[in-house]
């Protein structure tokens, strides 16, 4: 254990009502030199107002190209415990359900080889084990796989897919989000572990347009459950709810397509006009339920701003039936990857490639027909391209 360091600034963050990450580091620091030196170097960052982590190097486990983020500090002499401070990404179960037994097993492994600190979860959804050394990676890998766990993604590959809780606990879910997430993870193991794409690719699955996994904002492929038929209405429950809420103001007036009406006792929906935004169902879950002809809208392109500006996913397939084993979805994803592989530049996300090359190239490659649902509105500019055969 390195020399004792004073951490007055961090100590201040032990106070207050919100759970304190400093307390957590201190707990781990009791057992782990790595966690202890993390405190020291973090306090230094608080003083200097800059990070003390250097660019990571490539570290990992045999046969995998990802799953570990290499990290080294720039003050290794002062803080030898964090000279190496790699993170290990563990693929969580879909839906983030655990048993205490499984969790404790994982904790044992981590206490043995690492800082004892984790993020539950990382923003992508991995269990992020923070702080270990290069020589511990293979042992960690051997122990987790022995318990049935595997690494998640990092680098230019498929990243660990994730989903909302879906049918496990949500009455709104139109698709089996956890099953889709799990199945895709299993089908694409090679793409997940061995980076061979132009850049990263993320898949997220939400059971309805509430998008509780923020798929549209942060997944290249966003799968959003929806339905084709009519919202199911329980008029007795409507009457009941009318006693405790203002249905006209809170529901009917807020419907974006103005397709509802309420006469004080019966609620009517013109389902042809409904865009399945979920607002009315959210407000009256006892009275309203999504329809029965369920499936998903498949959307493409979501990502953070680097470098041409953030994108949210847009509609690629308005409606796809999704039933295990989801071969239709797999086929579509493979076709998209093939097209991206053929045309994408290094570090170009698939959404940026569509943005650069135009939707047509991608649609032709995947065999998807152009449909008005793909766009908010048709083009305003007159710079229309015609393929050679089209002009006659």
């Amino acid at each position: 254990m390195s020399k004792d360091v004073k951490t007055p600034m961090l100590d201040d963050l032990e106070k207050g009502a919100w759970p304190s990450f400093v307390k957590e580091i201190k707990k781990a620091a009791k057992r782990s030199n790595t966690a202890h030196d993390l405190l020291g170097i973090l306090e230094r960052s608080y003083r200097d107002k800059v990070t003390h982590w250097k660019h990571g190097g490539i570290v990992g486990v045999l046969g995998y190209g990802g799953g570990v983020i290499g990290r080294y500090c720039d003050l290794p002499e002062e803080f030898p415990g964090v000279a190496h401070f790699h993170t290990v990404r563990i693929n969580p179960p879909s839906g983030f359900f655990y048993t205490s037994k499984a969790m404790k097993e994982l904790c044992d492994i981590w206490d043995k080889y690492g800082s004892g600190l984790t993020n539950l979860h990382g923003s992508t959804g991995d269990m992020v084990w923070l702080g270990t050394q290069t020589d511990k990676l293979e042992p960690i890998f051997a122990e987790i796989t022995a318990k049935g766990w595997d690494l998640g993604g990092s680098g230019s590959c498929l990243r660990t897919p994730s989903s909302c809780v879906g049918m496990a606990r949500c009455e709104f879910s139109n698709i089996d989000t956890m099953s889709i997430c799990h199945t895709m993870t299993q089908k694409f193991q090679d793409e997940l572990h061995r980076p061979a794409f132009p850049y990263k690719f993320k898949i997220k699955v939400s059971g309805c347009a509430n998008d509780c996994t923020a798929a549209v904002a942060r997944a290249d492929m966003s799968i959003i459950g929806t339905w084709k038929d009519n919202i199911r209405i329980d008029q007795a429950e409507v009457k009941n709810l009318a006693k405790s809420m203002n249905i006209q103001e809170e529901v009917v007036d807020m419907c974006p397509t103005k397709c509802m009406s309420f006469d004080g006792s019966t609620l009517k929906i013109n389902d042809k006009d409904c865009n399945r935004c979920m607002h009315c169902i959210n407000r009256m879950p006892k009275a309203l339920r999504p329809g029965k002809e369920k499936g998903a809208t498949i959307m493409l392109g979501g990502k953070a701003p680097i470098v041409t500006g953030a994108l949210m996913s847009w509609v690629l397939v308005p409606f796809m039936k999704l039933e295990a084993p989801y071969d239709n979805l797999e086929a579509l994803i493979r076709k998209l990857w093939e097209w991206w592989d053929d045309h994408g530049k290094n570090r170009e996300r698939i959404g940026e490639l569509v943005d650069r090359m135009g939707m047509r190239s991608m649609l032709e490659a995947t065999g998807l027909p152009p449909v008005p649902q793909m766009v908010k509105a048709p083009r305003t500019n007159p710079y229309v391209f015609w393929a050679p055969g089209e002009v006659k």
Binding site: M9, V50, K54, G63, K104, L117, E171, V216, A217
Partner: protein, 357 residues
């Protein structure tokens, strides 16, 4: 070699089915409706008549194995050994109806915050900051802790007109859904990278480095086998540093925080939308970032006072207009608010219809 035990690979994610509480396994896909009991407890009712109670608590996201073991203990005592994490880093337990009160009381006694359900502020989605990343312009966990110490009652008891999703990213890479949050706290640099001419030739591929710059600010410097940066073109995105360690961009004075608001992800009532810049810069002031805490609190309070029920922050602002928003919040409007990047034209107000303030 032949003696080595076969290495297990490509297991993927463990089958979630083995982690589902029995009531969930039984009622999977059969849930009919839910009810909020209070900000920390909700009930889901199945077509079979079964009921599922969920109790939720906040976590600091960065946790020790001790913490996880503590959660496991709670789950064993009250939740059949099952527990769950939400997409926003909260922990959920599934007690039987008669166990709910005991669990809640025990959790509170142990100092945990029960809440996060319904209209209020749930956990903050955030990133690594000075804990683990090489590109941050601010810390993550520290800022979140400081902000939520001030706002925790919106997690536990106080309600708001609708959900307010706060997220933080420590640099422009925006790990997390920061760009579509009601309130986004974003670490920014404001000075161009410094060129480390001594190491660059060794550490970096010059053409890739040049290509990494979205604004074309980087050009070769053959004299030093390095590169030059046109500072007046640099927008401090840090992408060149991601590609080339010899272009460090972090700077104690230049770095700090900017605040974006009005984004959302859900499509309820209106489509998902991106957050917009409202406070271009606040200084890094560890350990409690008072300027940032004050600003976020102020934004939440002005929203709470003015928005209609069910109206997310962005929906409220769009209804009243940005001109009114700046007036109500007292935030000055500056050059920085006006987009001047590639797609700027779409943000220009191409109509003479607006409010005076």
């Amino acid at each position: 070699m032949a003696d080595k035990p076969k290495r297990i690979t490509d297991l993927g994610s463990p089958d979630y089915n083995k982690f589902l509480p029995p009531v969930i396994a039984k009622n999977y896909g059969k849930w009919k409706y839910h009810e909020y009991i209070n900000k920390g407890v909700m009930k889901h009712v199945s077509e079979t008549g079964d009921e599922l109670y969920t109790v939720r608590i906040a976590t600091p996201r960065l946790v020790s194995t001790d913490y996880i073991r503590e959660m496991c203990d709670f789950s064993e005592k009250y939740s059949g050994g099952y527990l769950r994490w939400t997409t926003r880093h909260n922990v959920e337990f599934f007690p039987a109806k008669e166990q709910v009160d005991g669990l809640v009381a025990d959790l509170k006694k142990a100092g945990h915050l029960v809440g996060g359900i319904g209209y209020g502020i749930s956990n903050v989605v955030h990133t690594q900051g000075w804990i683990h990343c090489h590109t941050p312009a601010t810390d993550a966990s520290g800022v979140v802790k400081a902000v939520m110490d001030e706002l925790h009652e919106y997690f536990t008891t106080k309600t708001l007109p609708a959900r307010v999703r706060i997220a933080l990213a420590c640099c422009l890479n925006m790990c997390g859904a920061v760009h579509c949050s009601d309130i986004a706290i974003l670490g920014i640099h404001r000075l161009p990278p410094k060129v480390n001419e001594a190491t660059l030739a060794n550490q970096c591929e010059i053409p890739t480095t040049i290509a990494s710059c979205p604004t074309g600010a980087i050009s070769p410097n053959p004299a030093t086998k390095s590169v030059k940066i046109k500072s007046e073109r640099c927008m401090y995105c840090g992408n060149c540093y991601t590609m080339c360690p010899s272009l460090p961009i972090a700077d104690g004075t230049g770095d700090g925080i900017s605040i974006y608001v009005g984004g959302k992800v859900s499509n309820a009532r209106g489509p998902a939308r991106m957050s917009k810049l409202v406070i271009p810069f606040l200084p890094n002031n560890p350990p409690r970032w008072p300027e940032t805490v004050k600003a976020v609190k102020h934004l939440v309070e002005v929203y709470a006072q003015n928005a209609k029920k069910h109206e997310r922050m962005g929906e409220w602002i769009e209804r009243i207009g940005w001109e009114r928003f700046f007036k109500l919040t007292g935030i000055p409007f500056t050059y920085q608010h006006i987009d001047d990047f590639t797609f700027a034209r779409d943000t220009f107000r191409m109509t003479p219809t607006f409010k005076w303030e």
